[in-house]
């Protein structure tokens, strides 16, 4: 009984330490620089308690749930030895986690408004909805492709920087040719694939894969999936803007 309590209190302390900088910065600027009292201090304290408890539970869950799951799946695929199945899994994981992402839904709706104002599509509810939906599909396809390509890179041991730098060069070139109204949307869409639950799972998957394949190193080959998932939506959305 003593062990878990000790572990939990250590985690709680860790969460407090993680949040201390934000609290210090906000308190300092509020009290010393702006010289204002805290508005409704009570609800701030309740909120802080929630944040600390939440972060503690999250990290606990990472270590007992998401990390072991990602590793177990990576090992199972490595043992099965079917590259096709693994790549299909990578694609589905990328596509599935992105299509329902709330941040993406918000960006897509906003992009549809911008596009209709710019005259790129017909200004009607139906065409806006269709545009936003297509955009979500495009970004989800992009992330699915990114994870597939990233997994393939881990299997083959390709150097990551060549692919990433080539990708950014492509983004730069496409930016010059894409319609202006899509550029901001494209750049923003790079960040939506990295949700709080996807990142740990995908990272554990990559590191687990690299660790269970002979000749691959967990450190040098296991990371990088997130980098692909950030880059590819920009390319896909710019392409979408050029086609439409």
């Amino acid at each position: 009984m003593k062990g878990p309590v000790l572990a939990l209190s250590r985690r709680l302390f860790g969460a407090v330490r993680d949040l201390a900088p934000i609290i210090v910065v906000i308190a300092f600027f509020q009290i010393v620089v702006l010289q204002q009292p805290f508005p409704n201090l009570g609800s701030v304290v309740v909120g802080l308690v929630c944040v600390v408890l939440g972060l503690t539970l999250f990290i606990q869950g990472l270590e007992t749930g998401l990390f072991p799951l990602g590793e177990a799946i990576a090992h199972a695929f490595a043992r099965k030895g079917s590259v096709t199945a693994l790549l299909a899994f990578g694609f589905c994981l990328g596509f599935g986690t992105t299509i329902a992402e709330p941040a993406l839904i918000a960006i897509a709706a906003e992009a549809a408004d911008v596009a209709s104002q710019a005259g790129a599509i017909v200004d009607s509810d139906a065409s806006r909805t269709a545009y936003a939906f297509n955009l979500r599909i495009v970004v989800a396809l992009a992330v699915g492709t990114a994870i597939t390509l990233g997994v393939l890179r881990i299997l083959k041991g390709w150097p990551i920087h060549v692919l990433i730098i080539a990708g950014y060069v492509l983004v730069t070139v496409m930016t010059a040719f894409a319609p202006d109204e899509i550029v901001g949307v494209a750049y923003d869409s790079g960040g939506v694939a990295t949700s709080t639950i996807t990142v740990p799972l995908v990272t554990a998957l990559g590191v687990g894969l690299a660790a269970s394949i002979n000749g691959r190193n967990a450190m040098a080959d296991g990371f990088g999936l997130i980098a692909f998932a950030c880059l590819s939506p920009m390319i896909f959305v710019l392409g979408y803007g050029m086609v439409i």
Partner: protein, 267 residues
């Protein structure tokens, strides 16, 4: 009562996030892998902990930190706070030195929100494990946070001066490419990943509010054109700082080893 409604709403949103992942996992498990996952009960309880934790975390941020952080960002960006009042001639003159407090706030809040960013914590824990402790999880998080601090601060400077975003980002990528070719191969993927994980739950709302507040308050800036881009800064600079951090640690290790081997062995 409000709190309960909030909780249920946020929990539902988080659950919807997780649903596709769960479906894909189950389908592949049943149809392709056909192998029992070890410790399934423990993993499921971990999933529940992640869901609950994230829900509480988001509600707490919404209630405690975001309102103050966002108001603060707007107030600091306001001309009175920055001292950029109209000049006697009646013309508003923007002098970047009037906004020193804003750059300081941008750096401090960028650093602090990054330290608390849950995806970064996850990646840092994994990196410590995968590198066998050579990359410390705190070392990595501090390196990323310093990168975000510098990036957001420079981004605020860009909004105040109204210089084009593209120059900064292209210059930053050139530095990243140069550093990449001088770094050891094993750190590069992690460095590239750390650019993407910083721009998440905690950092984005506060930093975006700072950008929009600045663009709305600095004379001659348009929130629609100048307000964005801080996030782009916050995702490029960590790549640099992580590559730099790894160079520094490997240099330190080498010089420590050199010192140790130069000490004469006791007879």
């Amino acid at each position: 009562m409000d709190f309960l409604l909030d909780f249920v709403g946020t929990a539902f949103g988080t659950a919807v996030d997780v649903l596709p992942i769960a479906v894909i996992l189950v389908v592949f498990q049943v149809a392709v892998l056909r192998r029992r996952i070890p410790n399934l009960g423990r993993i499921l309880s971990g999933f529940v902990a992640v869901l609950l934790g994230l829900t509480l975390f988001l509600i707490g941020l919404e209630q405690a930190l975001f309102p103050i952080g966002e108001t603060m960002a707007r107030q600091l960006a306001a001309p009175e706070a920055a001292g950029a009042a109209a000049t006697p001639s009646g013309e508003t003159q923007v002098d970047w030195r009037d906004y020193l407090l804003v750059y300081a706030f941008a750096a401090a809040i960028g650093f602090a929100t990054t330290i608390a960013e849950p995806p970064l914590i996850a990646v840092a824990l994994k990196a410590e494990e995968a590198s066998g402790g050579a990359i410390g999880s705190w070392g990595l998080r501090i390196a990323v946070a310093v990168g975000v601090a510098v990036g957001v601060s420079l981004g605020a400077f860009r909004i105040v001066t109204g210089t084009p975003l593209a120059w900064y980002i292209i210059a930053a990528y050139v530095v990243v490419i140069v550093l990449t070719f001088r770094s050891s191969r094993s750190i590069i993927p992690l460095a590239y990943d750390s650019g993407g994980v910083t721009t998440s739950t905690v950092t984005v709302p506060v930093v975006a509010a700072l950008g929009l507040g600045l663009a709305a308050n600095v004379p001659g800036r348009n929130p629609l054109i100048d307000g964005f881009g801080l996030i782009a800064f916050a995702s490029v600079f960590p790549i640099m700082s992580v590559l730099g951090y790894s160079m520094a640690t490997s240099w330190l290790n080498r010089s420590r080893q050199a010192r140790r081997s130069s000490v004469p062995l006791p007879k």
